[in-house]
Amino acid sequence: MRRPLTFISICLAVVALGTVKSASADDSMMSGTAMPKNHAFLLGSWSCTVNLPAMMGAKASTGRSTLTISASPNMTVHSHVSSPEYVSDSYQGYDMKTKTHWLITADTTGEVASETSKDGVTFMGMSWMNGTSTPVRDVETKISDTKIRDVTSLKMGGKWTMLADATCTKP
């Protein structure tokens, strides 16, 4: 079941892109879960290019996926990543009480990841697979209404190592 790191990279990077926060997000709702006010630009289908650095004997490479983002119940956003070799789903929400963004993911490799963020830009958490956990971090940037970017890193051997740099564009 163990997958190549490239798959991990594509997974985490592309999925996390579905969480990019609008610069003018409105977090002022009274209670419960809510998404940033101006997240509508995220909804729809995105074409993603994921640049993977050389790592662990593997050469640098580029992967491509389709990212589909839709509104889901409980004021959350659902992101679906699809490629011929890999599929994943994630949900993202905002906890009004703790003022924390959350992001959870499951995929075809059996990985489950959970991350949180206070600013909606830098997400940190853990990834679990085969009974082992690894710290994960995503830094997400909205470049424009039709371009978003995410840089994914894993903490291995006490150091953050960049796994992927993903950019998605909207047709």
């Binding site: 079941m1 163990r2 419960g32 879960t33 589909t68 839709s70 889901s72 119940p73 409980n74 959350t76 659902h78 679906h80 699809s82 490629s83 011929p84 070799e85 890999y86 599929v87 789903d89 994630s90 949900y91 929400g93 906890d95 009480k97 703790t98 924390t100 959350w102 959870i104 993911t105 499951a106 995929d107 075809t108 490799t109 059996g110 990985e111 489950v112 959970s114 949180t116 679990w128 085969n130």
Partner: protein, 188 residues
Amino acid sequence: MDDAGGRDLHEALMLRSLMVAALACVVACAQPVHAADVAPAAGAAGAPGAAMAPNLTGAMARWRPLIGTWTCAAGTSGGFPVTLTILTAPGNTLQTWVRSPSVSAAGYFGYDDATKAWWSAYTDSLGARFFETSRDGETFTGTMESQQHSMTIRATTTRLSATKFHTLTEERSGAQWVKIADNTCTKS
């Protein structure tokens, strides 16, 4: 999620138990399969993954009867109906979608040749996720977590007919397993 977190987690448990139910009925539900019986062309309407991957092979082939759409009622939550759709996915896995008016969920299921165990990964719009494993494909155990809760759960499935199965989901409470959900699913 706070106070509502209990309800949220409970509802999440209902949904995830449906997913485990579908996946855990491999032994109970699996029957001899012929290629004509399992044409995987019909994807879930509206589901992003409507284009299905190649059909299951090896150990996963026994799950083919599960592919399709199921209607389920969760017995301990007022019987709210949900739709469960199961598709093939890359990597010789199954992709599962659960939809109800208030929650959506997605999960994946596969077989690890190295450990000879079935695994199930799940996530939903309430912020819950789990990873479970099973040695026999009937009883799955693992940990389910939300933003505020964590619990050890077990799901056991019984086949009622070729198109109907029941699943009991329990939570570990000390040395005891306590029932928290039961579901019945019927294939459309």
